[in-house]
């Protein structure tokens, strides 16, 4: 029992660090690079993925024994697309401002590899409880990484984090950071930093 509990915690934390979807698996890079020009956009994108991934995982793992192997991919896609449309419509109706800022990237969650990848690698083979924990871990890892990426870009590119002024007035904004090249640069440095920390941890 105690062992089971430890492995459940591990199931959650692996998404945060060891198997972080962005920094390790390099999945879902399209929204990662495109929407993270501010911290709030990164956070909203992460939360949209969290809802979609968790809901899809619940459905897929509940029906995993009924879904035949031959049609599993189309079934996964239909389930994922349904939840993405739910997210898209709900956001457009309830939070039109955020929905406007994220533009076409909410509908594009359908083709985000993290979600299909987790269904294929995890939810279709594991019980519901475990799948939920896996999905939550992965999406929290995704959300934190996107928010951090957005915060760094927003800080250097606009001098603010979550629209709160951080940098002194004398700071000249690095415009490139909120443009697409800034996304590649920042992500590259974040992956380098991640690997550096990992090496340090291993040698200790």
């Amino acid at each position: 029992m105690a062992k089971n509990k430890i492995s459940l915690i591990k199931e959650f934390t692996k998404g945060l660090w060891d198997e972080n979807p962005v920094l390790v698996m390099l999945l879902g890079l399209c929204p990662t690079l495109a929407v993270t020009n501010s911290a709030i956009n990164g956070l909203s994108m992460g939360l949209a993925v969290l809802f979609t991934l968790t809901s899809s995982s619940i459905i897929i793992s509940t029906f995993r024994k009924i879904i035949p192997d031959e049609v599993r991919i189309p079934t996964f896609i239909v389930v994922i697309a349904t939840f993405v449309t739910i997210t898209d419509l709900t956001m457009a109706a309830k939070f039109p401002e955020i929905s406007k800022a994220l533009g076409p990237f909410i509908p594009l969650i359908v083709v985000n590899c993290i979600i299909l990848g987790r269904q294929e690698a995890f939810s279709s083979k594991n019980p519901v409880g475990r799948s939920i924990i896996d999905a939550l871990g992965m999406s929290v890892g995704f959300t934190l990484t996107l928010t951090l990426l957005g915060a760094i870009r927003e800080l250097l590119g606009a001098g603010t984090i979550f629209q709160i002024q951080i940098m002194p007035d004398s700071f000249a904004n690095w415009m490139v950071m909120i443009l697409p090249p800034g996304a590649f640069l920042t992500l590259g440095f974040m992956i380098a930093g991640y690997n550096w920390i990992n090496d340090k941890l291993k040698t200790q």
């Binding site: 020009n37 009924i66 879904i67 035949p68 031959e70 049609v71 189309p74 079934t75 239909v78 389930v79 697309a81 349904t82 449309t85 739910i86 419509l89 709900t90 457009a92 109706a93 309830k94 039109p96 533009g103 590119g157 606009a158 904004n173 415009m175 909120i178 443009l179």
Partner: protein
């Protein structure tokens, strides 16, 4: 037997998905439309000063929003100008006097230009007045000539000139062209429908 199962599973999945989404859509669609209507309505009152209400007049498929003064007179008119910017569609609401010779106000309804450069047409965080670009169009007289833009010099307001944004010339130029074209097209159309 095996293939029957495949068909049944996929059919049931898509069916459930379709039914669920159509219910959700019937809830969300009115809300989304109400929001767009609210944004447009707000913009109409912004670009047409001194009006109490407005009424929609449709001439050959083009919608004109006529501003009605508290005395019940049609005092000004607004219409939409839509066209391509640098990388996105720009939607602008233009408010004019009823003879369409003078711009009253313009309002940028929608843009998704390059962050930090083209977005300055809507919001220039470095300037004392972040909305300076679109405000340049206020009270320009366009009876004799189209709006024109200048770079790095003082624009001549009497000659309907505005200053383009440094680093976002194409976005600036697009706004000018879209407004010019919409005025040209709509002036005759509107006057013919009077």
């Amino acid at each position: 037997m095996k293939s029957a199962k495949l068909i049944i599973v996929l059919t049931v999945t898509t069916l459930l998905s379709g039914i669920g989404l159509s219910f959700l859509n019937s809830w969300a669609q009115p809300k989304i439309e109400a929001y767009q209507q609210k944004v447009l309505e707000q913009a109409i009152y912004d670009v047409l000063p001194g009006i109490e209400k407005y009424k929609v007049k449709e001439i050959e498929g083009t919608k004109f929003y006529e501003g009605i003064s508290p005395e019940g007179q049609t005092v000004n008119v607004a219409f939409r100008a839509i066209g391509r910017g640098f990388q996105s569609e720009l939607r602008i609401l233009v408010g004019m006097d009823t003879s369409m010779t003078k711009i009253l106000n313009v309002n940028l309804l929608q843009q998704a230009e390059t962050p930090g450069l083209g977005t300055k047409i809507a919001d220039d965080p470095g300037a004392d007045n972040p909305a300076w670009f679109m405000q340049q169009f206020d009270s320009l007289t366009v009876a004799q000539q189209d709006i024109d833009y200048v770079k790095n010099e003082e624009p001549d307001k009497e000659n309907a000139e505005i200053e383009a944004i440094t680093g976002a010339t194409i976005s600036s130029k697009s706004v000018v062209n879209i407004i010019n074209k919409a005025i040209d097209n709509n002036r005759e159309l509107y006057n013919s429908g009077q």
